[in-house]
């Protein structure tokens, strides 16, 4: 293996280990929210996109319906479609391999793949990051879920207060300009104003509709 590829593998492992630690908190939050260990692990194996997973279990944990959680998870997953678009010229366009590749289309694999000099290097970075991340993400989830499952009352550990911190940590890297900052503040205010008057989970869908309208109206043709 040449030195460029060794560097890619090293970076992929670094990302995977960091994500594994973050998956521990997902496993803990999910089990605290009332999902079983099996449901928690199923989310990490089958959904495999962090923000959506945190949203689903956060909403269920706060007493919302699982369907409100599922809708929010899907809305958060919409950005992966744009990542797929950027990767479609790099990855195989057909066959079983593409069906597997699709599962790995997330923030981290996209960032690693598009930073390369040739399509072959991009493909290598995509798969190395995807496989390493999938392994550590699921291992971390299992550890977090099992450890929390053994605690009789996770509230004693303050784990029920952890989801907003997880959402904040996911949000922070996206706030590096004035517009997203303003959108974030407006979204928070709108959600809180709606909250007393609509069923649980609906404030999030109202926010999603408003931001979609804003985005479309503000784009110059």
């Amino acid at each position: 293996m040449d030195s460029a590829r060794k560097g890619v593998v090293r970076d992929a492992l670094g990302i995977a280990i960091a994500s594994g630690a973050y998956a521990i908190s997902f496993g803990a939050i999910s089990t605290t929210a009332g999902l079983s260990v099996l449901q928690t692990c199923a989310l990490s194996v089958l959904m495999f996109t962090g923000a959506s997973q945190f949203a689903l279990v956060g909403i269920v944990g706060a007493g919302g319906s699982v369907w409100a959680g599922a809708a929010t998870a899907a809305l958060l997953g919409s950005r992966n479609a744009l990542y797929g678009l950027r990767l479609s010229s790099i990855l195989d366009r057909s066959g079983l391999k593409r069906l597997l590749a699709a599962h790995f289309v997330i923030d981290e694999t996209t960032a690693m793949a598009i930073a390369r000099e040739s399509p072959a290097e991009s493909r290598f970075a995509f798969w190395a990051t995807g496989v390493a991340l999938f392994a550590f993400w699921n291992l971390g989830t299992l550890i977090g879920a099992l450890a929390t499952h053994l605690v009789p009352d996770p509230k004693v550990l303050g784990l029920d207060a952890a989801p907003p911190a997880a959402f904040l940590a996911l949000l922070a890297p996206r706030l590096r300009a004035r517009e997203p900052m303003a959108i974030a503040l407006a979204a928070a205010v709108v959600a809180l104003v709606c909250l007393p008057f609509v069923p649980a989970g609906i404030p999030l869908l109202i926010v999603a509709v408003l931001v979609a309208i804003y985005g479309v109206v503000r784009t110059r043709p």
């Binding site: 630690a21 590749a101 207060a161 949000l171 999030l204 999603a208």
Partner: protein, 99 residues
């Protein structure tokens, strides 16, 4: 019921990933889509932070979760790793409930 919601959400998230790889580029390359889609997570995550901190059912409340969020904000500003941000918030809530 929980299983159904979990599996439908997983299928929806996978379909979105696959759509990006499979749809003709024209649909997703539309400037309105390119500009709007990245704004959705910003708005939703911010709304999740707010509602999960200040809501109890249909009421707005101020409890230990607000203090936990304040600690999390400090942790994020000093660029602490993800797990540290979450653990600091949980520990804050746990300690405040003891006193």
């Amino acid at each position: 019921m929980t299983w159904a919601g979990v599996l439908v959400a997983c299928a929806a998230c996978y379909a979105l990933k696959l759509a990006g790889l499979s749809l003709p580029a024209g649909v997703l390359a539309d400037p309105r889509v390119q500009r709007t889609v990245p704004l959705v997570p910003v708005a939703l995550l911010a709304a999740l932070v707010a509602t999960q901190t200040f809501a109890s059912g249909h009421h707005l409340v101020l409890d230990v979760r607000a203090a936990a969020l304040a600690v999390a904000i400090v942790a994020v500003v000093v660029r602490a790793p993800f797990l540290v941000v979450v653990a600091a918030a949980a520990a804050t809530a746990a300690v405040l409930r003891l006193v």
